[in-house]
Amino acid sequence: MSAVQEARWDEAYNFAYLDEQTKRMIRRSILKAIAVPGYQVPFGGREMPLAYGWGTGGIQVTASVIGPDDTLKVIDQGADDTTNAVSIRRFFSRVAGVETTEATEEADIIQTRHRIPEAPLREGQVLVYQVPQPEPLRSLEPRETETRKMHGYAEYGLMHVRLYEDIARYGHIATTYSYPVMVNGRYLMSPSPIPKFDNPKMQGNPAIQLFGAGREKRIYAIPPYTSVKSLDFDDHPFEPQTWDESCALCGADNSYLDEVVLDDHGGKMFVCSDTHFCEDRRAKGHRGELGADPAALAFARTADEGEAQ
């Protein structure tokens, strides 16, 4: 056997950590989830070496669909260099030996927490969401026995009432993330805690979208080109977030912006939450209003090279 053919992963573990029977069980659950878009499939989730709530569902889904030749991208809050994204990428480098990338277009599998990349996805890509609470109705009804019935009967009036109460109280729907969606006209689904800004990207997406909730032991999915509609009312249509500002680094006015506090008397700037998208734009010569400011440049350098200790 040549050096090239030798296992590139830590051979103390099976490829991608999980044993083959477990992966098969998870793949069956994924297939069922794809066949019934938006339906939460219970699965025999395993205990992973990362903590529950830290992406164990997404990790199990990724581990079950990844192959040795796949390229993996992991983001948290849209960024490739947040510590948990780094930690999960390191995990797969170790137990699966796969190539990793920060470039959205180069990735076969993108595992994400709280964001959908700004760059459009393509056919063949898999977007794996980490899901803390798969049940969109849980905050309204704590009992699983009840919420399963509500899904069974497509009885979603409770959620509409909640949205209506927002309108009665505030004049508009006051949900900014985990904004509930209706999938394929049948199942109410939690998009995971992505900002509602990202909801429209789920609609008719050419990529496969898989959702893994490890602690709650549920998998659900949106097949390519599926209808995903954010709940709203005829007289109060769904509205994603908008900013008056644009990215201080790359000048983008169409991306999700994070607020970066610069001092303790109100100084702040807004930058793209999707770090790869922002870097890509800057590499192409785009500059934001603080693009030449020393403080902003220092921040950009930190983001690019990493100075955190």
Binding site: G44, G53, D81, T83, V86, R113, T145, A174, E305, G306
Partner: protein
């Protein structure tokens, strides 16, 4: 292979170095061995085995050492390791009536066949700090006296004595279920049967189960328990290999067991009978099995037609929140960055305040 190395990654690697240094502590103090932990912190090891769901003292001791004595962290380590193990066989039910007893007490009867066996217990120690244990020269080699006669071989369960008279509900094996529900292979499902509930409680956090059990005693779901019997000792584990077709002994495990006897009013259809609550755990975990037996009985409310109005009787509440690996993970995940969602909330709260001020100004103008 390209692995992006960034600030976050360097910080993580450095934190691993720092935790290793912190774990070792002052290097002028000898390093503790896993064997010392296994032998001298045996009850910590027992708890980690029970809630970690692996009977292996060496691995549990290693987990305790690696986790710097944080038992919930040690349980997590053992659970994650457990995922990588193949399942070779499913054992026969252990027969605790055949236990090689180290301790066995009943609070329901003064004397029982086989006798009361106090065994190793802190129950009647006065909780005074023993400074002899802190002495430089150590405690030497303490030796307990050996009994004059061996214990009775036959130690029937107290519940079986009541059963003979028909005073307690009979325990009827579930004939349809060939294998019990296994939470480590299947997700929780409701309504939960007793096998699922008991497995959940056996793996559940001792503190959580203890508090729930306590709540039933204080009035949040009174089941009027008597400690029918508590026993601890070795039981043999048997499997039936397919190629043999008969049971073979594969080893002994130490378990703790508790039978609680609870009151029951009876009904038009049933004569008054005592009811059961049951607790079983790997190792010496008496507090856990007693609490477990209280909560097991409370969770049987549906079976006895009792209104489930208290937390300990609510199976979704108890079963979904008993696991400390799940609970610790989800509480600690709040440490992860949430700034995308926080940004969304910042945008909303600024908008709501702006609208509020506009209304105020409009009202003032009118």
């Amino acid at each position: 292979m390209y692995v992006a190395v960034k600030g976050g990654e360097r910080a993580i690697l450095n934190s691993h170095e720092l935790i290793a240094e912190t774990r070792r502590g002052d290097t002028s103090v000898p390093e503790v061995s896993t064997r010392q932990i296994s032998e001298q912190l045996g009850l910590a090891v027992d708890r980690v085995m029970a809630e970690g769901s692996i009977y292996d003292r060496d691995l549990a001791a290693l987990a305790v050492k690696q986790a710097q004595g944080d038992l919930v962290e040690a349980i997590f380590l053992l659970r994650a390791y457990r995922t990588t193990l193949p399942r070779l066989a499913v054992s026969e039910p252990v027969d605790t009536a055949q236990m090689l007893v180290r301790r066995r007490v009943s609070a329901a009867y003064k004397d029982i066949p086989g006798g009361q066996v106090l065994g190793p217990t802190y129950d009647y120690t006065h909780r005074l700090l023993d400074f002899a244990l802190a002495a430089e020269e150590g405690v030497g080699e303490p030796e307990a006296p050996v009994g004059e006669a061996p214990l009775d071989a036959g130690m029937p369960h107290v519940a079986d004595i009541l059963d003979y008279e028909g005073l307690i509900e009979p325990e009827i094996p579930d004939e349809d279920a060939s294998e019990p529900f296994d939470l480590t292979r299947e997700p929780m499902s409701f309504p939960a049967d007793r096998d699922q509930r008991l497995q959940n409680l056996a793996r559940g956090d001792e503190g959580f189960v203890l508090a729930l059990g306590y709540s039933t005693q204080r009035g949040f779901g009174g089941t009027h328990p008597f400690a029918g019997e508590i026993r601890m000792g070795e039981v043999s584990v048997e499997i039936v290999p397919e190629e043999l077709g008969f049971a073979i002994d594969i080893g002994d495990v130490v378990v703790s067991e508790c039978h609680m006897i609870n009151q029951f009013e009876g009904s038009a259809e049933r004569p008054p009978q005592f009811t059961r609550g049951y607790g079983l755990s790997f190792g010496h975990n008496e507090r856990k099995v007693m609490a477990m037996a209280l909560v097991d009985r409370a969770l049987r409310a549906r079976e006895f037609g009792e209104a489930a109005v208290y937390p300990a009787q609510d199976e979704e509440f108890v079963l979904y929140h008993a696991d400390n690996v799940e609970a610790a993970g989800f509480v600690s995940h709040l440490k992860l960055p949430h700034y995308v969602d926080f940004q969304a909330e910042l945008g909303l709260i600024r908008k709501l305040r702006r609208e509020f001020e506009e209304r105020q100004q409009k009202d003032a103008a009118e």
